[in-house]
């Protein structure tokens, strides 16, 4: 699925180049569940943006299903994001002036699906996440856990093959954290590729593989035996 090849992403800060992320070679297979861990500022979000087609690397290539992502036009990358990717954010990024239902409809609006179909799909997904009574609520009328569930419904409504999550449990209490992790597990079981940035070792253990980032470099890889849940260092 993903292949990163001699990637280097630098930021210029008042003339000084700061390497935000670099790696010689990194592969993420289809259906794989990868956790990205590491201290703050180590380049986790940068990696996720590179994978999401939102940030061109200074050097190197990002391959997605045999296509070099950053050799495509902005419009084509946008289309790939729309069709194949779903994002989960730490603070949910719900649109404040839209209701739960409308927020979930949003990706379908962008693909140009008819309104009735938008509604049907969004309602079904929100029902599945236990939010049938909250369709008409604005984000500020929902609890934090409900907001993240709405956000997850929005992520999944397009049936994306890839899920890119940036600290999806960072703002949640244990119960809701568990719920989100279960949804991600379930997504992976149904064949989706999941890349999750997290600070939480417990959450990271849900992944098949853990990448540890330190100062922009992939310094450690932990692989878990895919049958046991308490995998360890490799």
């Amino acid at each position: 699925m993903y292949g990163l090849q001699e990637i280097n992403k630098e930021y210029n800060r008042r003339g000084d180049a700061v390497v935000a992320f670099r790696c010689d070679r990194l592969e993420i297979g289809a259906g794989e569940y990868v956790a990205v861990v590491g201290p703050s500022g180590s380049g986790k979000t940068t990696l996720l943006s590179l994978l999401g087609g939102m940030l061109s690397p200074t050097r190197g290539k990002v391959w997605l299903d045999g296509q070099s992502l950053y050799d495509l036009s902005v419009a084509e990358r946008t289309r790939i994001r729309r069709q194949r990717m779903g994002f989960v954010f730490q603070s949910f990024n719900l649109i404040p002036y839209l209701t739960a239902l409308e927020n979930v409809q949003l990706p379908l609006v962008l693909t140009g699906l008819p309104a009735t179909e938008q509604c049907r799909r969004a309602t079904a997904l929100l029902d599945r996440f236990g939010l049938h009574g909250r369709l008409g609520h604005k984000p500020n009328e929902l609890s934090v856990g409900q907001q993240q569930r709405v956000a997850l419904a929005r992520t999944l409504v397009n049936d994306p093959r890839i899920i890119l999550a940036d600290e999806p449990t960072g703002n949640l209490d244990p119960t809701n954290r568990q719920l989100v992790l279960e949804i991600l597990d379930e997504s992976c079981r149904s064949g989706r590729t999941v890349v999750m940035v997290t600070h939480d070792p417990e959450a990271a253990r849900h992944a098949h593989r853990q990448l540890r980032l330190c100062d922009g470099a992939v310094s450690e890889i932990l692989v878990r035996n895919s049958t046991t849940k308490s995998g360890d260092a490799a």
Binding site: T45, L48, S49, G52, M54, L55, V74, A75, T78, R79, R81, R82, Q83, F87, F89, Q90, S91, N93, I95, P96, Y97, L98, E102, Q105, L106, P107, V109, L110, T111, A115, Q118, R154, N158, D166
Partner: protein, 407 residues
Amino acid sequence: MGLRSLIWKELRERPWSLATSGLAILLGVASLVAIRHVTVASEGEVSRQLATLGANILILPKDATLENYYAADQNGGTLPEEHVSEVFLAGLTGVEKVSPKLCVPAELQGQSVTLAGILPQTEFRTKAAWQTVALFSAKPHTGCKKAKCAITANDALPESLATNRTIETLGETETVIGADVADRSGLKLGTKVTLLGETFEVLAILPRTGTVDDSRVFAHLHTVQRLAGMGEVVSAIEVMGCCEDAAGDLVPEIRKLLPDAKVVTISQVVQTQVGVNRLMANTSWFVLVVLTLVGGVSLAGAISANVRERRREIGTLMALGATPGFVARLFLIKALVLGLVGGISGCLIGLALALWLGPHWAAVEIVPLPQLMVASACAACALALVSAYWPARTAARLDPCICFREV
């Protein structure tokens, strides 16, 4: 749900954030529409007046001002009445009629009116016969296109004073009253009224002209001279030329004849008036340009602020698959909505204003100008789009990575 409902839902959330710029656009369009309506209507009125009175020449006291030719005979100064005969006896080519006028303040049933003394045309004819000079009408100038030498049946009616500015017959104790005076006093034909201590009989009530004549009372010149105790003087003499060419040629001749008077053509007076109109119109263009700039700049500012505070939302939309074009349209259409709302309501308010102010300010009836209104609404939309172009472009070029940034 689609792009439009997305814009609508956002706009509905905080409609007041764009109120100032919307108001500026609305005021700009409203003032443009109002001013243009009044200007166009008064220009039409001026050219209509020119068409009927263009061939006329006014002889006024030297110190008279020319702001409003209808009131030009009310300047206060006077001319000796002999000037009338001098013009009349000079036998100038192209003169159709001569009409002297003396305006004095008077009271009619407790309301103050302007009493205008005029000389009926029959007296000229008697005088002409008596002086054995030919009537003016006998001498149209060569090549005259408009000569109106014969007296038509209509000219014989006293009401023709309203349009012809002359009257055929008027007795020494008869009076003709303007439409406004008639309305306010409720006077009827044949009623007796007292003016400057003398009793007059109402001979005619003039149809409404929309000019100062509406609030005037007319009587025989010699009666007015006697009652006012002013001697044989007049405030103005109007000379009707047969056509505008004649009027232009006549002015220098009359000037030579009457060196102590001011001789102007009605067109000159009207041009003065048009000049004043034009100055007003130019001033209002300036006001309009300022309003447009204020509207445009404040809209650009408002949309910029909107883009800034919605950065993360824009990033999120882009992460969800919104193209830069979609994001740009989000803001352009929003601005367009504002331009449309401001433009259309501005048009309606401007028209209402013009309909209300036109008769008060410029004494003209306003006819709605649909093309002008459509053009103004379109201009408002174009202004909105131009103002929103840069902020929208900024939004479209935002880095989608902002969606990961924590607030």
